[in-house]
Amino acid sequence: MSDDATTHEAQATPAAPYLKPLPEPTRVSQPFWDAARAGKLLIQRSKKTGKAVHYPRPVSPFGPDDELEWFEASGRGTVYTYTVARRPTAPPWANEPPLVIAIVELEEGVHMTTNIIDCNPSDMRIGLPVAAVFDAVTPETTLVKFRPTT
């Protein structure tokens, strides 16, 4: 290791490395992840039907005479269903508090799997109103999570 590298490491934040799975954006999904880094929830909708679509894709599920366009979603929704994982679902979540995994139904109608944070697991219920939170887990990646609205 060179002296330069040592100096650089010494100046870096001594944060623990992020070892959980990270999204690998594709050409199609890049706008979603770029927007998340900027604190926005950007999803697609059908020009023909106006219906929202998630996850991002290059072709519309509503037929060949349709196109998808990006728009900024409200970030508001409700818990459609959830579970509290009392045991880790995978090794990177070991030694962490119970993880709340949920499907959120956005106001725009689409479902997203996500985590509910800043919430006591015993307060979780279906129908709970939630709002998007942008969690910068690494300098490159911001995950879209949700927290209860008060």
């Binding site: 954006p25 998630h54 509290v84 009392r86 045991r87 995950l143």
Partner: protein
């Protein structure tokens, strides 16, 4: 052209599920159980001209030719099936298609998995790093769900259970009763993983909650094992001396990969698959003598009973209360113990629902034989209620 009665299951092979198989190869296990099934059918390997298997860790691609070569057979039809837990039932429906289509006459369907302790498999993987990354998932699932810990299947079935409880309601005791009845059945099956270990409803409810609301004893335990079936033409089956299990109906339905995008969490893809199978067979729900229903979790069984049409939507809990689900009860369910108590050896776990239904139809389920067993319903379920394959088996063509 209907596939009804065009082919039959005439041979069964199955390795007893075990927790670990240190040093064993999946290929060797497939060969062992495949040979069992061919011998059970009273055939020579040279009389088998079709092979259906699946991709497995040792053979992530070109699995059919790998197995054909290893067994020392020649196949006029060789294929893989990739339907998760529905793979076993899907192998049978595809074997019938190949036979009815005249591609071959006798198909060996074989699936299974070895399982090593994490340490030794990790060391092996590291040593075999040339293959690292070949099976990396780059689907929308890995991009939009895995980062949130939505990994494995437990979380998905737990989310289904919570939604079902919200929409219709079911008591923890009713779900637990499903696991208890299957354990009773396993105690009559010496090949079951949990033979000799009866449990009570209290045991289930006192076992730790893994993912709300599912307890440990409502969740399958992964293990190792293998299973095989020989499917042949009805013409050939009729000439054999032993009883055969004719495939009278087959129906499939696939609607999603990830539970997030399922059309419904509580009205499942099973309904259309089961309706198609019953329609083809011309058999009514009340004609079914044994139900062999995929049971990765107790909630899976509850939804399957409703969506396969054995009771109305939302009445699954009451159905469980009102019926005795033991092999010697009024609604025999998974007499082998189900995967919850027989064991889930990868997709051989799903295949176990077909092997057991065939045994029951053939009258060969010693110690747990359902009386007057004329018709069996089988359901295979892959992914998180994603891929569904239903079969109706019968004693006569």
């Amino acid at each position: 052209m209907s596939l009804r009665g065009r082919a039959a299951i005439v041979g069964i092979g199955e390795l007893k599920p075990v927790r670990h198989t240190e040093g064993a190869t999946t290929l060797g296990m497939l060969a062992e159980t495949g040979r069992q099934a061919v011998a059970d059918a009273g055939l020579e390997l040279a009389e088998v001209d079709g092979l259906i298997t699946e991709n497995f860790a040792e053979a992530p691609f070109m699995a059919p030719s790998t197995v054909v070569e290893y067994l020392g057979m020649k196949a006029r039809f060789a294929e893989i099936v990739d339907l998760g837990g529905a793979t076993g039932a899907g192998m049978v429906s595809r074997a019938v298609m190949a036979i009815a289509g005249g591609l071959c006459e006798t198909v060996l369907c074989v699936t299974g998995t070895r399982r090593e302790t994490q340490t030794s498999s990790g060391q092996r993987r590291a040593a075999n790093s040339a293959f690292a990354g070949r099976r990396v998932d780059r689907t929308p699932y890995s991009e939009f769900e895995a980062p949130y810990g939505a990994i494995g299947a437990n979380f998905g079935y737990a989310m289904i259970a919570n939604r079902y409880i919200h929409e219709y309601g079911v008591n923890p005791e009713q779900l637990a009763k499903i696991a208890v009845a299957q354990r009773y059945n396993a105690c009559h099956n010496p090949n079951a993983m949990f033979f000799g270990q009866p449990i009570t409803i209290e045991d289930v409810l006192n076992s730790p909650v893994i993912v709300d609301p599912l307890h440990m004893l409502e969740i399958v335990m992964p293990c190792a094992g293998a299973a095989a079936l020989v499917v042949t033409s009805a013409r050939r089956a009729a000439k054999m001396k032993r009883p055969a299990a004719y495939i009278l109906g087959a129906g499939e339905n696939t609607t999603h990969r990830s539970i997030t995008y399922a059309p419904s969490l509580t009205d499942t893809a099973i309904k259309a698959a089961a309706d198609r199978a019953f329609k083809m067979a011309g058999v009514r729900r009340k004609d079914i003598d044994v139900a062999s229903i995929y049971d990765c979790y107790t909630i899976t069984v509850l939804l399957s009973l409703e969506d396969a049409g054995f009771c109305k939507k939302g009445r699954g809990g009451r159905f469980v209360d009102e019926h005795n689900l033991q092999w010697d009860g009024d609604f025999p369910l998974n007499p082998h113990g189900g995967q919850l108590s027989f064991g889930q050896a990868g997709t051989a776990g799903g295949m176990s629902h077909v092997t057991e239904a065939a045994r029951q139809i053939m009258g060969r389920a010693q110690g747990r034989q359902v009386k007057k067993c004329r018709f069996a319903f089988v359901n295979g379920n892959g992914g998180i209620m994603s891929e569904q394959v239903s079969l109706i088996l019968g004693r006569e063509r």
